[in-house]
């Protein structure tokens, strides 16, 4: 499932409309040594990715207001920024590998952000 390509940039984009959750994730990943970007919706996320090519990890919620939900955003990113590692979360639906772009990880909400860091570290191998 994982890819063996090393990740050079320790930066992450958190896409989550629920601010209380987003702030915690930002806080957590900052403390874990990441450069953290955040967006409330898919459009914001795409703008940030366009402007910051160094971002290699995206963590996105599926249920979000706006023109695109998190799953479509994930597919978009996979096409547009292929090496990006994707973490997709949802409290509503459960995704199997088939439903997701390649090299994606599904996290049912609520999830432990530590597992995200561990996965990234593992890939960095």
């Amino acid at each position: 499932m994982g890819q063996s390509k090393p990740i050079n940039s320790r930066s992450i984009l958190v896409v989550e409309d629920e601010a209380l959750i987003r702030f915690n994730l930002i806080n957590y990943f900052e403390n874990a040594g990441f450069t953290v970007y955040d967006a409330e919706n898919a459009d914001g996320a795409i703008s940030i990715l366009d402007a910051n090519s160094s971002i290699r990890v995206v963590l996105t919620d599926i249920q979000m207001p706006g023109s695109m939900d998190g799953l479509r955003l994930a597919h978009h990113i996979r096409n547009r920024f292929p090496p990006t590692i994707l973490f997709i979360t949802s409290g509503v639906i459960s995704l199997s590998e088939r439903d997701m772009p390649a090299d994606s990880f599904f996290l049912p909400k609520p999830f432990n952000p530590r597992s995200v860091v561990r996965t990234i570290d593992g890939l960095r191998g």
Partner: protein, 591 residues
């Protein structure tokens, strides 16, 4: 009739002679022998002066027994025999003139007697015949009467004869049984219509009037027997005509139809149940052609009641279902006696699929031969909708629960991360969870669709005390969107906590003024939701050096949730917090 005594011997002799018709020749021989014998007796023993006298009884008897002709013959023969016995050869004409005269007179008299006797004989014969005929007739009559009375007695109908006023004069034995009459005298002479109540009474009177006018009439009614058993009767009332062709009496025949009536009523009730049932009820023949559908059935599938006879069982289903019904359902019914399960009907007009609970049972004739299929089918749309709704609700509940848990996880993580020590963290987290709990209470009251701001404010601030006394909240009714509710509740909690620690609620006199309003604005869709938290009378304000979860929570999260400007100002007179958001981001409905 007075009986005339007759000699039994003559009677028997006459009867015997009538029974045995004697041929004329035999009669004449008998007569000849008898007369000659009488002649001999007379010649030998009776030296009579009147020689013919002795012959008279013989002639009489002969005429009586053997008839007129033989009687006359005997008379003439007697005259000859007598003449022979009294004549004398010295006389030129054998007899003297007086003797000749006597002989002729005798012949005339004896012939007369013979004729009379023959008439008597004929009369006797007639009388005998008449008596026999009468006897036969009366025997027949008696048989007939016995037959009729046995018919009357064995009939289970109540057969009554009434006079023209409707009084009972006769009731058949069987009738007394079904009417439970123990003593006919109790009801003899009673007015028959009085046995009927209400409509029956009216009908009975009308029937009597009709019979009186010569017409027959029948009706069905309810009446109690003499013993008080309520029964249903079919009554036929007809006139009994006299010789003059006018009604003389009235015949009333009542039949106890209670059992069939009850059966009919039962049947009627069943029919009503079937017709009025809200369930789909239908019957089809073995070949699948439908011949009965109730109204509910026609309605469910949108079939015109006039078209019932032109549809087949399979027409009620979409193709795949129809196949399953033919291959699985009907064979199962034939084999096991029933089939039930969920199926899809198809609406005849719209083609809409209708989920149903389909139950099929065999319809058999009297000897148990399968002649068709019946169904009682329940519309399952509501149930399916409810089930789907239930699934949806469960899903929604799970989603909300996970969302709240995620929020709690975030609040807990940040509280712990930013606290100076574990004790403070515990206290702060407890209080924040209480505020979140209160907010979910308000949301749950509205099925998580909205939250009343006044209610939310009261609940979020209640734990801090002094609400209405030191905390003053006012504003128009606002229904918050559920998305912003948790965050606003937490923010109000943080503001109150901060006020209690450092602000207006930290001394004895400070006041908090919470107000909100809606600014209609000038542009369409430009309405704003404004919320203002102002503290007065507190200790002098010192802006904090470190911005903790509290103020971050208040400003940043509200900005995000409300797409608002949210600003805390540490004025000297007291802390002021202002939220200015597009109304559409904050509220569902504004009044």
């Amino acid at each position: 009739m007075t009986n005339i005594e007759t000699s039994p011997f003559v009677d028997r002799l006459l009867a015997w002679s009538l029974r045995h018709s004697i041929r004329p020749l035999t009669g004449n021989v008998i007569a000849t022998v008898a007369i000659i014998m009488v002649g001999l007796i007379r010649a030998l023993f009776v030296a009579s002066i009147v020689p013919w006298l002795l012959f008279i009884p013989a002639v009489l008897l002969i005429a009586l027994v053997l008839g007129r002709a033989t009687g006359i013959y005997a008379s003439i023969l007697a005259a000859i025999v007598a003449g022979l016995s009294i004549g004398h050869a010295s006389e030129p004409l054998w007899l003297t003139l007086p003797q000749w005269t006597g002989s002729i007179v005798f012949v005339a008299v004896a012939s007369g007697i013979a004729i009379l006797a023959a008439e008597l004989r004929a009369a006797f014969a007639r009388a005998t015949r008449l008596a026999n005929e009468k006897e036969a007739a009366s025997l027949q009559l008696a048989e007939r009467e016995a037959f009729l009375s046995s018919v009357l007695a064995s009939s289970t109908d109540c057969i009554k004869v009434l006079d023209l006023d409707g009084r009972i004069t006769f009731m058949s034995e069987g009738g007394q049984k079904v009417m439970e009459v123990s003593d006919f005298n109790e009801i003899a002479g009673c007015l028959w219509p009085d046995f009927w109540q209400d409509k029956g009474n009216v009908d009975a009177r009308a029937a009597i009037a009709a019979a009186k006018a010569g017409e027959s009439h029948s009706f069905t009614g309810r009446a109690e027997t003499i013993a008080g058993t309520p029964k249903w009767w079919h009554v036929a009332v007809s006139p009994v005509l006299g010789r003059d062709g006018m009604p003389e009496r009235i015949l009333s025949v009542s039949r106890d139809i209670t059992a069939s009536r009850e059966h009919e009523e039962e049947r009627g009730q069943l029919v009503r149940i079937v017709e009025n049932s809200a369930d789909f009820i239908g019957i089809a023949r073995l070949d699948g052609s439908v011949f009965f559908l109730n109204d509910a059935a026609c309605q469910l599938v949108g079939l015109d009641p006039g078209a019932i006879n032109s549809v087949m069982i399979t027409d009620f289903f979409p193709p795949a279902e129809a196949e399953a019904v033919l291959m699985e359902v009907l064979p199962t019914v034939t084999r096991d006696g029933s089939w039930s399960g969920e199926r899809m009907f198809r609406h005849f007009q719209t083609g809409e699929l209708i989920p149903v609970f389909y139950t099929v049972f065999p319809v058999t004739d009297y000897d148990g031969t399968l002649i068709g299929y019946g169904t009682v089918t329940r519309d399952f749309r509501e149930r399916r909708r409810a089930e789907e709704q239930q699934v949806l609700l469960n899903h929604e509940l799970s989603h909300r629960l996970k969302n709240v848990l995620s929020v709690v996880q975030s609040v807990a993580a940040q509280t712990l991360r930013q606290a100076d020590n574990l004790h403070d963290a515990g206290e702060a987290l407890s209080a924040r969870l209480v505020a979140l709990g209160e907010a979910t209470n308000v949301l749950t009251a509205q099925s998580w669709a909205s939250a009343d701001l006044a209610e939310l404010t009261a609940r979020a601030l209640a734990p801090h005390g002094g609400l209405g006394d030191r905390i003053h909240a006012e504003g128009p009714p606002v229904t918050l969107k559920p998305e912003v509710t948790l965050a606003l509740a937490l923010a109000l909690h943080e503001l109150a906590t901060n006020a209690a620690k450092y602000g207006a609620l930290s001394n004895a006199t400070g006041q908090v003024w919470l107000s909100w309003s809606i600014d209609e604005g000038t542009e369409p869709g430009g309405s704003r939701f404004l919320l203002n938290w102002r503290e007065t009378g507190g200790p002098q304000v010192v802006p904090p050096t470190r911005r903790g979860f509290g103020s971050m929570m208040i400003e940043r999260s509200l900005r995000s949730y409300f797409k608002a400007t949210a600003q805390i100002e540490y004025l000297e007179s007291g802390l002021v917090f202002c939220l200015d958001a597009p109304l559409g981001e904050a509220a569902m409905v504004s009044k």
